[in-house]
């Protein structure tokens, strides 16, 4: 598994560096979006999660879920436009799953992409993604995932 400064960043996933989220295209063509371990580390323990509802359209680089940690509230932004097809009930019941398992049980939303090919060009993967996160972490003055 890939990692930068102690933050897991699985190399098989696609990443939006600006939005600090990961994307995985599933077999049915839908995508899963979640926060990176780096985003989780910056946020701290997540205590609330409000996804956009299933059936709603979301736009590239706009909110797909609102999260709260340490009294900070803000959006997690999807890098892919489309329709929300599923939200995560396990995370609603236990938002800490986002921190505990950001790439597994802690996913945020599943989206049916409106134009995957157009939006996916901005995503990075593998060594490119790791290098981009390294640069972002340096610019952020980030010391490392605990």
């Amino acid at each position: 598994m890939g990692a930068v400064k102690g933050c897991d960043l699985p190399e098989e996933l696609l990443y939006s560096i600006d939005n600090n989220v990961w994307v995985r295209r599933e077999d049915d063509g839908n995508i899963t979006v979640g926060m990176t371990a780096y985003a989780c580390s910056l946020a701290g323990q997540v205590v609330s999660y409000t996804p956009k509802k299933a059936g709603k359209d979301v736009k590239k680089d706009k909110s797909c879920a609102t999260v709260e940690s340490g009294k900070w509230v803000g959006p997690a932004k999807t890098p892919i436009s489309g329709e929300v097809v599923a939200t995560n009930d396990a995370v609603s019941a236990s938002p800490g799953l986002i921190n505990q398992d950001p790439y597994g049980q802690g996913w945020l939303v599943k989206i049916k992409p409106a134009d995957w090919d157009a939006d996916a060009v901005d995503l990075k993967t593998g060594a490119d993604a790791l290098a981009a996160f390294q640069a972002k972490m340096d610019a952020d003055g980030f010391k490392g995932c605990a």
Binding site: S41, L42, A43, G44, Q45, V47, S48, T50, T66, E68, S69, G70, K71, W72, V73, G74, P75, K77, S92, A93, S94, P95, G96, Q100, A139, D140, G141, F142
Partner: protein, 368 residues
């Protein structure tokens, strides 16, 4: 060092809660869009009760009481719990970007801003200190609560400062299960809040409070203060739109999560150092400890360790209780007589274990 960055200073005066919330959204979104400069805003409120972004109004507030008393109900865009606001308090808030303070770590950003705010409050003649994670206190008593919101790289961080405050009035507005607490616990809850009038004998003039805070922020962040009288034209247009959305029942009464129970669980733990009592307010829908109260006749120095521990455990997921207790004690210097961190963990676990098994979702929080 190159030329200093500017920090615009706005005073938007005494307003209805809806207007203040719409201004929060306006200034954050305009900052994110590049239409607003870095800004320090001072604000005041007509009497109102404000729930945190993720809270349910009916679960947090005595709605009937608010209506009878003409107390506005609004929803913040920031996190945290419900608060009561009236003209006896002043609000301060900063609109910056994540890297402004040289870090993107949200906890660290909150700490730096709170430390600067505490410095500002000290300039008024009280010994204000930052207390993790989100409070500013004087001798263990809270005088300012804070919270934040972000949008992309833009952040907004806000706090209250209690100038003259009536705790009784607050307790009547908030749905704190006070009736379930012992009188002693209520009294101790009251002892945990203070205000400038109480500490100084009289409330300082608002202008003095504002300049003390503004100067402290300017020094801490190495910025020049640039007072402005009003919003810029783009902000004014945005504000008119935001107000329509926020000054509505749809915004205020939206449900962000199912209203679960919020039991107050209590326990007593006898340890070699004395008798320890704990109350735990549990948010069952999210399996999160909202707040804890701990009292007892045991010895420790400093005594205020208890309130610092309580503050550090706010909004702790049940699964993280042990981790958070260890994190607190690893970093805190305290002298305790025949008492250990295990005793605190035990009394809180005991309180959690006392919850009604019927209301417990299976398998989500095995002890240990």
């Amino acid at each position: 060092m190159s030329e200093k960055i500017s920090l615009r200073v706005l005073d938007t005066g005494l307003r209805r809660a809806a207007e203040n919330m719409a201004l929060n959204r306006t200034l954050l979104e305009c900052h994110q869009a590049g239409d607003s400069p870095h800004t320090l805003r001072f604000l005041r409120f007509e009497p109102c009760a404000l729930v945190g972004f993720h809270q349910n109004v009916e679960q947090e507030l005595r709605v009937d009481h608010c209506r009878t008393e003409g107390i506005d109900i609004q929803r913040r865009i920031t996190g945290g719990g419900a608060i009561y606001f009236d003209p006896g308090q002043i609000g301060w808030e900063l609109y910056l970007d994540r890297r402004f303070l040289g870090t993107a770590d949200m906890g660290e950003i909150a700490r730096r801003i709170c430390e600067a705010a505490a410095d500002g409050i000290r300039r008024l003649g009280v010994d204000a200190r930052y207390r993790p994670r989100n409070d500013i206190e004087v001798d263990g008593r809270k005088i300012s609560g804070t919270g934040g919101a972000f949008d992309g790289n833009s952040i907004m961080y806000q706090g209250t400062l209690l100038i003259d405050f009536d705790v009784e009035r607050m307790l009547r507005v908030l749905r704190i299960p006070a009736e379930k607490l012992s009188d002693k616990a209520i009294a101790s809850a009251r002892e945990r809040v203070t205000n400038l009038r109480e500490l100084l004998g009289e409330p300082p003039p608002l202008a003095r409070v504002q300049s003390a805070l503004a100067e402290a922020f300017a020094e801490a962040f190495q910025v020049d203060l640039v007072p402005e009288d009003d919003l810029n034209p783009r902000e004014q247009t945005h504000f008119a739109q935001a107000l329509v959305e926020i000054d509505s029942e749809d915004w205020v009464y939206q449900r962000h999560r199912p209203a679960g129970g919020m039991p107050l669980l209590e326990a007593v733990h006898r340890c070699p150092g004395g008798l320890m009592r704990a109350g735990v307010m549990l948010d069952e829908a999210r399996d999160i400890i909202r707040q804890v109260w701990i009292t007892g006749d045991f010895f420790m120095n400093p005594r205020r360790m208890l309130v610092d521990l309580e503050a550090s455990l706010k909004e702790t997921p049940v699964a993280e209780l042990e981790t958070n207790i260890h994190r607190f004690f690893d970093a805190y210097r305290v002298e305790m007589l025949m008492l250990s961190r295990e005793d605190f963990l035990q009394v809180l676990r005991k309180a959690l274990d006392s919850r009604d098994p019927a209301s417990t979702r299976a398998g989500t929080h095995a002890a240990g």
